[in-house]
C-alpha cells in the first residue's frame, strides 16, 4: 500500500481523462466551459459522490490505511441492510401490503385449482390405463394404516386402564 510513482501516475492519468471527458461532454452540449455556467449533467449525483469521497479521503488521511477500513465497510453494509430491512418491514406491516399478498395468493389459487384438478385427473387416468394404483389409492391405504394404529393404541389404553383397575382391586 506504499505510495509509488506508478500509483501517482495512475491517479494523474485518471484525473486527466475524467477532466477531459467532462469538458468533451460540455462542448458537446454546445456550451463553452470557461465563459458561461455550464449545464451540469452530474448535478444530481455529485453531492453524493462528493460526500462519499470526502469521507473516504478523511478516513485515509486521518488513519493509516489498515484492514480496519474493511471492518468499517462491513459495518456500513450491515447498517445498510438493516435500514432496508426496517424500511421493508414497515411496508410489509401495512394493510395495503397484506391485502396485496392475499390478492396474489388468491390469484395463485384461482389459477392453480383447475390446473391441479385437470392434472390429477390425467395422472389418474394414465395410472388406470397401466393398471397401477393411483396416488389417491395409496394415500387411502396409508390413511387406513394410520387409523388402525390409532385404534390399536386406543385398545392398549383401555386394556391398560382395566388392568390398573384390577390391580388396584386385588387384595395384597
Amino acid at each position: 500500500m506504499a505510495e509509488t510513482p506508478a500509483t501517482n501516475q495512475l491517479f494523474e492519468l485518471w484525473k486527466r481523462q475524467f477532466e477531459e471527458g467532462t469538458q468533451a461532454w460540455t462542448r458537446l452540449l454546445g456550451q463553452q466551459a470557461p465563459q458561461a455556467p455550464a449545464i451540469d449533467p452530474a448535478a444530481f449525483w455529485r453531492p453524493v459522490l462528493n460526500q462519499g469521497l470526502e469521507t473516504w479521503a478523511r478516513l485515509f488521511a486521518q488513519t493509516p490505511a489498515s484492514p480496519e477500513m474493511l471492518t468499517q465497510w462491513k459495518q456500513f453494509l450491515d447498517q445498510w441492510i438493516d435500514a432496508w430491512s426496517r424500511a421493508l418491514g414497515q411496508t410489509m406491516g401495512t394493510e395495503q401490503f397484506a391485502r396485496l399478498i392475499n390478492q396474489q395468493l388468491d390469484a395463485m389459487l384461482t389459477a392453480q385449482a383447475p390446473l391441479k384438478k385437470a392434472f390429477d385427473q390425467q395422472v389418474e387416468q394414465a395410472l388406470q390405463t397401466f393398471n397401477l394404483p393411483s396416488r389417491a389409492q395409496l394415500t387411502g391405504v396409508a390413511r387406513q394404516i394410520v387409523e388402525l394404529e390409532d385404534r390399536i393404541e386406543r385398545m392398549e389404553d383401555t386394556l391398560g386402564a382395566v388392568l390398573r383397575r384390577l390391580e388396584a382391586r386385588e387384595p395384597r
Partner: protein
C-alpha cells in the same frame, strides 16, 4: 460546491490517500494486518471453492439417543444423560415448518447436548414429516391424542412421578393447549421459549393471516396440505433481507473453518422446510391466529375447554427482543394468562432462532433455562 470541478475532489482524495500511504509505509503493524487480511482472503477463496465443488454434508444430531415410542410419523426420543435431576424434561417443538435437528445441531453447539450435560433427563418429541395421508391431522388430535400418549411414555420410561414440559415456538401454544385442557397431568414445570400465546400481538403473520383478508378454508380446500415451498416462501417474505445478510456474513467469515462448519449445518436446517397437514393448518390459523381462542379461553379440545388459568405449576417464559416470528409481547402474555404463583419472564437479545442455536443461545439463553429449571427439578 456545485461549481467545483470533480477533478478537485479527486485531487483532495488522492492527497489524503498519499499521506495515509506514507503513514502506512511507516507502520510495520499495519503491514502485518494487511498480510493477515490477505491470508484471510486466500482462505476465503479456498473455502468457497471447496464449498462449491465438494460440499460436505454436515453431521447434525450427534448426541446419543434412543427411540422410546412412535406414533404414526411422530417419534419420542430419549437422550443419554448423567441424570442428576429427577424430573424428566419433555421438549415439544413446532410441528411442520422445520426439522427438530436444530436443537441438536453440532457437538458443542447443541441445546440438547447442553441440557443433558446439565443432568436433565431429556426427551424430544419429533412430530415428523407428514404426507398427504396425514392431511386430516388437526391441532386437536395432537393435543388430545399424541401429547397425552407421549407424556405417559416419558413418565413410564423415566420412572418419575412428574415431568417438565418445554415448548418452543409453535410447540409452546400447542403444549399450553394440552396443559390447559388436561389439569390432571402431573406437570412440575412449564417453559415457553418463543411461543406465541396472545395472537393479537403476533406481528406480520398475524396481519397477513387476518380473517378479513386470508381465506384459510379456500387455501386448504385447494391445496390439501400446505407445501414446504409455500411455507418457505412465507418465512423468506417475513424477512426479505435475511439471505443478503447471511451471504454477507458468510463471505466475511468464510476464512474461519469453525464458522463455516456451523454455517453449513445451520444453512442445511434453514432450507429444510416441512409441509403442514391441511387440517392442522386450517385449525392453527383459524383458532389461534384469526380468533385468538387460546388466549381468550374459548378453545375446546376433545370436549374439554382449554383454560390457561388451570396451569398452576411454575412457569418460565423466554422471549427474544428481535423475534419477528413470535414478538416478545405475544410470548410474554403467558405469564399473565396462567394461574401459577411462581412465574417469570425474561427477554433475551437476538431473534427467534437465537434462543435455540448459535453462540448467543449458548451464552444468554441455555444457562438461564437450565438455571431456572435446576432448582425446580
Amino acid at each position: 460546491m456545485g461549481q467545483e470541478r470533480f477533478s478537485d475532489v479527486v485531487e483532495r482524495f488522492t492527497n489524503g490517500y498519499a499521506s495515509a500511504a506514507a503513514a502506512a509505509q511507516a507502520s510495520p503493524e499495519t503491514i502485518g494486518q494487511w498480510q493477515v487480511e490477505l491470508d484471510r482472503n486466500l482462505k476465503r477463496l479456498q473455502n468457497l471453492h471447496a464449498m462449491l465443488t465438494s460440499p460436505v454434508e454436515p453431521r447434525t444430531g450427534q448426541t446419543p439417543r434412543e427411540e422410546i415410542y412412535k406414533k404414526n410419523k411422530s417419534r419420542l426420543y430419549r437422550y443419554a444423560s448423567p441424570r442428576t435431576h429427577r424430573t424428566p424434561l419433555l421438549f415439544v417443538p413446532n410441528l411442520g415448518i422445520s426439522r427438530p435437528y436444530i436443537f441438536d445441531l453440532l457437538p458443542h453447539g447443541s441445546f440438547i447436548e447442553y441440557m443433558t450435560g446439565q443432568g436433565f433427563d431429556f426427551y424430544l418429541l419429533d412430530w415428523g414429516v407428514f404426507g398427504p395421508e396425514d392431511n386430516d391431522l388437526t391441532v386437536e388430535h395432537c393435543v388430545t391424542r399424541i401429547l397425552p400418549r407421549m407424556v405417559r411414555e416419558v413418565l413410564e420410561s423415566s420412572g418419575a412421578p412428574e415431568l417438565t414440559v418445554l415448548g418452543y415456538c409453535m410447540g409452546a401454544p400447542v403444549a399450553a393447549s394440552f396443559l390447559g385442557s388436561h389439569p390432571e397431568v402431573p406437570v412440575r414445570n412449564f417453559i415457553n421459549m418463543a411461543g406465541p400465546i396472545d395472537f393479537t400481538k403476533v406481528g406480520l403473520f398475524g396481519l397477513w393471516l387476518a380473517k378479513d383478508r386470508f381465506n384459510v378454508d379456500r387455501f386448504v380446500d385447494t391445496l390439501g396440505a400446505i407445501p414446504a415451498d409455500l411455507v418457505k416462501a412465507g418465512f423468506k417474505l417475513i424477512k426479505p433481507t435475511m439471505d443478503l445478510s447471511t451471504s454477507l456474513n458468510l463471505w466475511w467469515n468464510l476464512w474461519n473453518d469453525k464458522y463455516l462448519e456451523g454455517f453449513q449445518a445451520l444453512n442445511k436446517w434453514a432450507n429444510d422446510y416441512v409441509a403442514f397437514p391441511g387440517e392442522f393448518f386450517r385449525q392453527w390459523v383459524r383458532d389461534y391466529y384469526q380468533e385468538n381462542r387460546l388466549y381468550r379461553g374459548e378453545l375446546v379440545m376433545g370436549g374439554r375447554r382449554v383454560d390457561l388459568k388451570t396451569i398452576t405449576c411454575p412457569v418460565f417464559v423466554v422471549g427474544a427482543k428481535e423475534d419477528y416470528i413470535a414478538p416478545p409481547e405475544c410470548v410474554r402474555a403467558l405469564v399473565d394468562a396462567v394461574g401459577s404463583r411462581d412465574r417469570e419472564y425474561v427477554e433475551l437479545p437476538g431473534g427467534h432462532i437465537s434462543l435455540i442455536a448459535g453462540r448467543g443461545a449458548a451464552v444468554h439463553c441455555w444457562p438461564k433455562v437450565a438455571g431456572w429449571l435446576a432448582s425446580r427439578s
